[in-house]
């Protein structure tokens, strides 16, 4: 028994040592390559900070609006005063005509115009329905939402007082007045991202993409460099792999995985807390998601990198994908409403499930059971891309071995030829000497 077990353990030991050597070698490659250090270290460090800083102001405040007050009544003045008191808008100036207000709008001094018609005060005093018009700047959706929200709020508040007064005039007061002003009280409860903050909505998705894209570009740069430096344009030099694919793939991916596991804590846990973005997620759930996410992303990037000939190819061709992956992640255009084809296309990329899973854990406070769909998909992807990666690397290694063999044969033939010619010269020398 001992005799048969012993070599197995020895082989296992040597396999582990090989894998570890490849891991160490890859770590060296990473740390010696300025471009990769910039991406793996600097970009991952700085990008989350930059994005969080840019979107630090979650909502719009004190948006300048113009008011055209044609009513010039006590009521219109009150409306303007209330409007100015909202946190959302500031009355930039009051104009006497829409034409003047439009001029201010054209100069981009204001983001909205509120028009109070002549009969506004009269209508309120005579019990008629009064009307105002709001013109919104549509160059950003947030202008529209903010201006409308502020005016709605003010108008509803003023309207309630007027309602009570008018009902009183009809002799309806107390409880029955309440019933009429609000027969069905409705409460709207915003469960997550209560302030409707823009950063809280966008930045979590961007954080996942930062991890995903830097990992992708770093790996493609490393693969491209290896190929450029190798004499036979092979991805893996034969001195490293010794013909064993799985060890190469595992050794390399372990290097990326360890670096990025550490980064994940900083990017996905520290940054949201630092910038008071939503962070409802449990650390264990986040790590539970991150492990298959990183594995799937690493194997995916390694598979693609096999087909990229040069160092810069990855960034040149897939640079713009950062934007496309953000949309495929189903954040600004909800995943449910996405076109079927693009949904299927988005499924291919681990980032899609990473974004969905992370938002659900981090922003909605889900646990790993709740996001089992994303969790299992990522593990499935990790497995599929591992197999694809091993296959692609195996193909590369075979190619490099074949190249090496050809080289060996060529040099061997040359040697034989040289030896033959040496012999010939020797014989001629000999014959010359003889003669």
């Amino acid at each position: 028994m001992k005799i048969t077990r012993f070599p197995r353990i020895k082989r296992l030991k040597s396999n582990i040592k090989d894998t570890f050597d490849i891991f160490v070698n890859e770590m060296k490659m990473i740390s010696h390559d300025r471009g990769v250090v910039v991406i793996f270290i600097l970009a991952v460090l700085a990008y989350p900070l930059l994005y969080s800083l840019v979107y630090k102001n979650e909502t719009l405040a004190n948006l300048p609006v113009a008011v055209v007050d044609n009513s010039r009544s006590h009521e219109s003045t009150e409306l303007i005063r209330h409007l100015n008191a909202t946190p959302e808008v500031d009355v930039f100036s009051t104009y006497s005509s829409l034409y003047d207000a439009q001029k201010a709008f054209n100069q981009r001094l204001v983001n909205g115009v509120i028009y109070i018609p002549e009969d506004f005060g009269k209508n309120i005093n005579t019990g008629q329905k009064a009307n105002i018009s709001v013109y919104c700047d549509m160059s950003s959706f947030l202008y529209y939402r903010t201006v409308l929200q502020a005016t709605n709020h003010v108008v509803l508040d003023m309207g309630k007082d007027i309602q009570v007064k008018r009902l009183g005039e009809q002799g309806i007061t107390g409880e029955s007045a309440k019933i009429i002003t609000e027969p069905v009280p409705y409460n709207d409860v915003v469960l997550y991202n209560e302030t409707a903050g823009y950063a809280s909505f966008l930045v979590p998705a961007v954080l996942i993409l930062i991890l995903y894209q830097t990992l992708f570009f770093g790996i493609t740069i490393l693969a491209g460099t290896a190929r450029e430096e190798n004499r036979f344009h092979a991805l893996v030099s034969s001195s490293v792999h010794k013909g064993k694919t799985l060890r190469v793939v595992l050794g390399k991916s372990a290097a990326y995985f360890i670096i990025y596991l550490a980064w994940s804590i900083y990017v996905l846990k520290v940054i949201p807390q630092l910038f008071s973005l939503p962070h409802l997620g449990d650390s264990i759930d986040i790590i539970g998601l991150v492990v298959p996410f990183l594995l799937a992303s690493i194997f995916f990037a390694m598979t693609i990198s096999v087909f990229l000939p040069n160092r810069e190819t990855g960034m040149l061709v897939f640079g713009i994908f950062s934007l496309i992956l953000l949309f495929l992640g189903g954040v600004s255009w909800p995943y449910y409403n996405m076109n079927g084809f693009w949904k299927a296309f988005g499924w291919i990329f681990p980032s899609t499930h990473g974004i969905q899973g992370y938002i659900k854990i981090n922003t909605l406070g889900a646990d790993i059971q709740t996001i089992s769909k994303e969790y299992h998909t990522l593990w499935l992807q990790a497995l599929i891309y591992l197999l694809l990666c091993v296959w692609a690397y195996h193909w590369q290694i075979k190619k490099s071995l074949a190249n090496a063999r050809v080289r060996q044969m060529v040099s061997h033939k040359r040697e034989i030829a040289r030896n033959e010619s040496d012999e010939q010269t020797n014989t001629t020398k000999n014959s010359n000497a003889q003669s």
Partner: protein, 392 residues
């Protein structure tokens, strides 16, 4: 003499055209990425507007009135009831799973309370983590509930014998007409595409400019390039970049044709101003690309810088989150992006249709970008002659 100049540029041009045919990267960069993005963004936003988002309902009452309420909600533009749930906990889990973006809870005895004037509440739970879906649903649901209350109010007031002419003034004392300037249909894709087409173009132009020059350094062919241009660096640059200027202006024009012709997005001034802006924009982007490769004549470093600079371009356009609402020091960066100035022209001309003099400043700034390469002209020339930068 002018003939000679033209022939030198011609020689560089022919050399560049031959290089373009030599490997697929040139084709992918100039036409491939842009074509993919046209197809992607047009089909991705083909619905134009977000409609029928999934909503859940917890109906504890299950009466004629509550069922009617559900049918009304289902009939609104934005909401579609996809599931009935039995309690709050289940509904919250469904929301966490992303299967619904909002849910409504109707309490037990709702219709009885309503009929006996006990003001039963309805509660809406919204998820604003997906901001667009959340805010659209909130708007729709609030409008519907106002309508529901309005109906009840009218009935009660009539029963109380209030004069018919006074009822509208009591139900809604002040109403709001909202107008969206320049974009009356609130079409979502209009927003996105008008920024993404030029945004992707900027990115592609930067990458291409950096690549076509950087590859000469990387492959140590820059001396040959200069020799073809008879050692005149300015002519070497013109001959090299001219084909790309032409290609990208064509692509920019194609964007305009797609947006304003094929998709019929609002264009409230002459198309000429947008086309002129496109020409200036393409050249400005090339100038920025030249500045980057001139500052760092190493292909791989320049590509990384384009990556970092380019991705923030979408942020600093200011269409998602307005620039003037960003924190102060960050705001300054928007000036160094051609797309910011192109976007200003788009907003003024296409969207608002204002007089051209309001956009004059943006055109001038776009043109001023052309001066940028002057800073690095000699540095880049030296790099081409001495090849004194590492290739890796």
């Amino acid at each position: 003499m002018p003939d000679k100049k033209a022939s030198i540029i011609g020689a560089t041009l022919r050399r560049e055209l031959a290089r373009m045919k030599s490997r697929p990267m040139y084709f992918i960069l100039t036409l491939g990425i842009m074509s993919f993005c046209y197809i992607f963004f047009i089909s991705f936003f083909s619905e134009g507007q977000l409609m029928k988002m999934p909503v859940g309902i917890i109906d504890h009452d299950n009466s004629k009135i509550s069922r009617q309420f559900c049918r009304n909600l289902d009939a609104t533009q934005q909401a579609r009831i996809v599931m009935k749930l039995s309690n709050f906990k289940d509904a919250r889990v469904e929301m966490q799973k992303g299967n619904i973006y909002a849910f409504v809870e109707i309490e037990k005895g709702f219709s009885e309370k309503l009929q006996s004037n006990k003001r039963p509440p309805i509660t809406f739970y919204i998820n604003d983590a997906f901001l667009t879906a959340g805010s659209l649903l909130l708007k729709d649901i609030s409008a519907m509930s106002l309508l529901t209350s309005g109906g009840v109010q009218q009935k009660v007031l009539r029963a109380k014998g209030v004069d018919e002419s006074l009822i509208p003034g009591i139900v809604q004392p002040i109403s709001i007409d909202s107008h969206m300037i320049g974009n009356p249909w609130s079409n979502y894709s209009d927003y996105f595409l008008n920024v993404f087409f030029p945004g992707v173009l900027e990115f592609v132009i930067l990458m291409t400019t950096v690549f076509v020059i950087g590859i000469e350094f990387k492959e140590r062919t820059s001396r040959n390039w200069l020799r073809t241009a008879n050692n005149s660096f300015s002519r070497a640059l013109i001959g090299k970049l001219l084909p790309y200027t032409a290609i990208f202006i064509c692509l920019g024009f194609l964007s305009n044709i797609i947006l304003f012709g094929y998709l019929h997005f609002p264009l409230n001034s002459s198309l000429f101003w947008m086309l002129l802006a496109t020409v200036f924009y393409v050249i400005a982007c090339q100038a920025v690309g030249l500045l980057i490769i001139g500052t760092l004549p190493v292909l791989r470093d320049s590509v990384s810088i384009v990556m970092i600079y380019g991705m923030f371009g979408f942020t600093f356009t200011g269409f998602t989150f307005p620039i003037e609402q960003m924190a102060y020091p960050v705001r300054i960066f928007s000036y160094i992006y051609p797309i910011r100035h192109y976007f200003n022209i788009y907003v003024n001309q296409a969207l608002h249709g204002v007089d051209i003099r309001y956009s004059f400043g943006s055109y001038v700034i776009l043109l001023a970008f052309i001066l940028l390469p002057a800073i690095i002209f000699f540095r880049l020339k030296k790099a081409a002659i001495y090849q004194n930068y590492p290739i890796k």
